[in-house]
C-alpha cells in the first residue's frame, strides 16, 4: 500500500510541476501569437509538429539529451502540453468581440493593461479547458516514465508486465485512469462554471 501511495505521489508531482511550467509558457506563447499573428501561426505549427511525434520516440530523444530521470519526463510533458494550452489561449484571445477591445482602448488602457485586465480574464474558461486536456494527457504519458528512470505509477505497471502479474498491472493502471477521469470530470465542471462567470 505504501508503495502505491508513494508511486501516486511521485506521479502526481511530476505532472503537477510540468503543468505549472507548461501553463506559464503556454499562455505566454499564446499571447505572443495573438500579438504577432505571423509568428503565432509558426508557433502553433511548431507545437502541432511536436504533438505528432510519437511519444516514445520523443521521450527516447530527450533521454539522449537530458539523461535518465524526472527532468526528461518533465520536459516531455511540458512539450506535449503546449499545443492545447497555446491553441486555446490564442483562439480565445482572437475570438474576443471587437467591441470589448474597443471599449478597453477607449478607456485608455495600454496593450498590457488590456491583456491583464480584460483579455486574459475573459479567456480563462478556454485556457482552463486547454489545461484540462493537457493534464489528462500528461497523466497517461507519465506512465512511460519508468522507461527512462523517472518515477510514478508506470513503475508498478511495468513490474506487473515483467512478472505477467495482472493484479500488479491493474494496481498501477486503475489509479491512472481513475485520477484522469476525476480531473477530466472535475475540471470540466469548473470550466462550465467559469464560462458562466465570465458572461
Amino acid at each position: 500500500m505504501n508503495e502505491l501511495m508513494h508511486a501516486i505521489a511521485e506521479h502526481l508531482s511530476i505532472v503537477a510541476v510540468a503543468m505549472v511550467f507548461a501553463t506559464i509558457i503556454g499562455i505566454a506563447l499564446g499571447v505572443l501569437s495573438y500579438w504577432k499573428r505571423k509568428l503565432g501561426s509558426f508557433i502553433i505549427s511548431l507545437a502541432e509538429i511536436i504533438q505528432t511525434i510519437p511519444s516514445l520516440a520523443l521521450l527516447a530523444l530527450l533521454m539522449i539529451i537530458f539523461g535518465l530521470g524526472d527532468l526528461t519526463m518533465g520536459v516531455a510533458l511540458v512539450l506535449y502540453a503546449l499545443l492545447p494550452i497555446i491553441r486555446n489561449t490564442y483562439t480565445s484571445l482572437t475570438q474576443l468581440p471587437p467591441y470589448i477591445i474597443d471599449a478597453a482602448r477607449g478607456m485608455g488602457m495600454s496593450r498590457a493593461q488590456r491583456l491583464v485586465k480584460v483579455e486574459i480574464p475573459l479567456s480563462i474558461p478556454m485556457i482552463f479547458g486547454g489545461i484540462k486536456v493537457a493534464l489528462v494527457n500528461s497523466l497517461s504519458i507519465a506512465v512511460m516514465g519508468v522507461l527512462i528512470g523517472s518515477g510514478g505509477l508506470g513503475y508498478i505497471i511495468y513490474r506487473g508486465i515483467q512478472q505477467r502479474n495482472m493484479e500488479r498491472i491493474l494496481l498501477g493502471a486503475i489509479p491512472v485512469v481513475v485520477i484522469a477521469l476525476i480531473f477530466d470530470w472535475g475540471m470540466g465542471k469548473a470550466e462550465k462554471r467559469l464560462q458562466k462567470h465570465t458572461r
Binding site: E3, S13, A16, V17, V20, T23, G67, L68, G69, D70, P121, I124, V146, L147, G149, Y155, Y158, R159, I161, Q162, Q163, R164, N165, R168, H197
Partner: protein, 298 residues
C-alpha cells in the same frame, strides 16, 4: 475575482510544494540505488536499500528496474546512481571489453583494479553466487534431440529459434561471440525481447533456445534444460555491489553495511529468492525483508 485569485494561489502553492519535493530529493544524506531490469538484480538492490535504511541514518532513493546493464553502468558513471549490483563477468567483458577470464578470483581482482582506476568505482564483497549465462532449451527440444552440451546443439541449430534480451546481442560475452566460438547457426533471425519477456516467449513455444541466467526462477517453472558450456565460452559472473568511490569516501560506514550480504547468497538461495519474485509473484520488498530477517541482518 476572488475565485480566480484563490485558484491561482492554489496552483502556485501546489507548484511550490512540488518543487520542494524535488529539491529535497537531492540532499546530501541520500543514496541512490539502481538495478537492472530483472528480478534477481531488483531484489538484491532492494535488500541493499533496506540494509542501508536499517543500519545508517541515510535515506535511500530507489531507482530499481532502471534498465539493462548499459543503462545502469552509464548512470553510475554519470553519478545519477551511486550503487547497483553488477557481475564480474559482465564487468570484464561488457564494460572493460577484455577477453574472458575463467578463474573467478582473477576476474574479480581485474575488475576491482580496473574499475577503480578507470572510473573511480569500487567493487565490494561478492554475495557468493555465480549467475552465469547459460543456454537453456525447452523440454520438447531436449526430448527430441537429447542435447547435453552447447556443442550438441550444432547439428540441430538450424531448426531452432533463438531468442534473448536486447543487450545479449550487444555484448562481447553475448550472441556474436557465442555463435562464433561454437559455430552455431540458428533458424532465421533471433528474437530480441525485453529481459523479463523472454521466459514468457519460451514458455509459449515462440522460441526454442534462450540465454538463461543460471539462477533464474522461471527455469524451474518452465522445466527448461540447462546445457553445459563445454568450450567454456562464458566467464564466471559473481555478483557484488559496485559503488562510486566518492560516495564511499563521504560515507565510510556504507562499506560495512553493504558487505553484510557478502557471502550470504549461494546459488541455491539466490535461485529460491528469484523463484519467489519471478514465479510466485511476491513483492520484492517482502521477499527482501523476509530474507534479511531470517539472516538476522535486520
Amino acid at each position: 475575482m476572488h475565485r480566480k485569485r484563490t485558484r491561482i494561489t492554489l496552483v502556485l502553492t501546489l507548484a511550490l510544494a512540488a518543487i520542494l519535493f524535488f529539491t529535497s530529493c537531492a540532499k546530501d544524506d541520500t543514496i541512490t540505488i539502481g538495478s537492472k531490469d530483472f528480478g534477481e538484480n531488483i531484489v538484491i538492490a532492494e535488500m541493499l536499500s533496506q540494509l542501508i535504511e536499517a543500519h545508517t541514518p541515510l535515506k535511500v532513493n530507489r531507482k530499481l528496474n532502471l534498465g539493462g546493464t548499459f543503462v545502469n553502468f552509464n548512470a553510475i558513471k554519470n553519478g545519477q546512481i551511486d550503487i547497483y549490483p553488477e557481475y564480474t563477468g559482465t564487468g570484464l567483458t561488457a564494460h572493460l571489453k577484455m577477453d574472458v577470464v575463467n578463474d573467478p578470483e582473477q576476474s574479480y581482482s581485474i575488475v576491482s583494479e580496473e574499475f577503480l582506476k578507470q572510473w573511480d568505482i569500487v567493487w565490494l564483497e561478492p554475495f557468493g553466487f555465480n549467475n552465469t549465462y547459460t543456454l537453456a532449451v525447452t523440454p520438447e527440444v531436449y526430448e527430441q534431440y537429447k542435447v547435453e552440451t552447447y556443442s550438441d546443439l550444432i547439428p540441430y541449430a538450424g531448426e531452432l529459434v533463438f531468442g534473448a534480451e536486447h543487450e545479449f546481442f550487444d555484448r562481447q560475452d553475448g550472441f556474436d561471440g557465442l555463435v562464433e566460438v561454437y559455430g552455431l547457426q540458428f533458424k532465421g533471425e533471433p528474437m530480441k525481447l525485453n529481459a523479463s519477456l523472454k521466459y514468457q516467449a519460451i514458455g509459449r513455444g515462440d522460441m526454442d533456445v534462450t540465454d538463461a541466467f543460471a539462477t533464474d526462477g522461471p527455469i524451474k517453472q518452465y522445466n527448461l534444460k540447462i546445457l553445459e558450456d563445454d568450450l567454456g565460452f562464458f566467464p564466471p559472473y559473481h555478483a557484488a555491489p559496485i559503488v562510486r568511490k566518492e560516495v564511499l569516501d563521504k560515507h565510510p560506514e556504507l562499506k560495512t553495511v553493504l558487505n553484510m550480504l557478502g557471502g550470504k547468497l549461494d546459488d541455491a538461495t539466490m535461485t529460491d529468492l528469484n523463484y519467489l519474485v519471478d514465479v510466485e509473484g511476491e513483492s520484492v520488498e517482502n521477499v527482501a525483508t523476509e530474507f534479511l530477517k531470517s539472516m538476522n541482518l535486520i
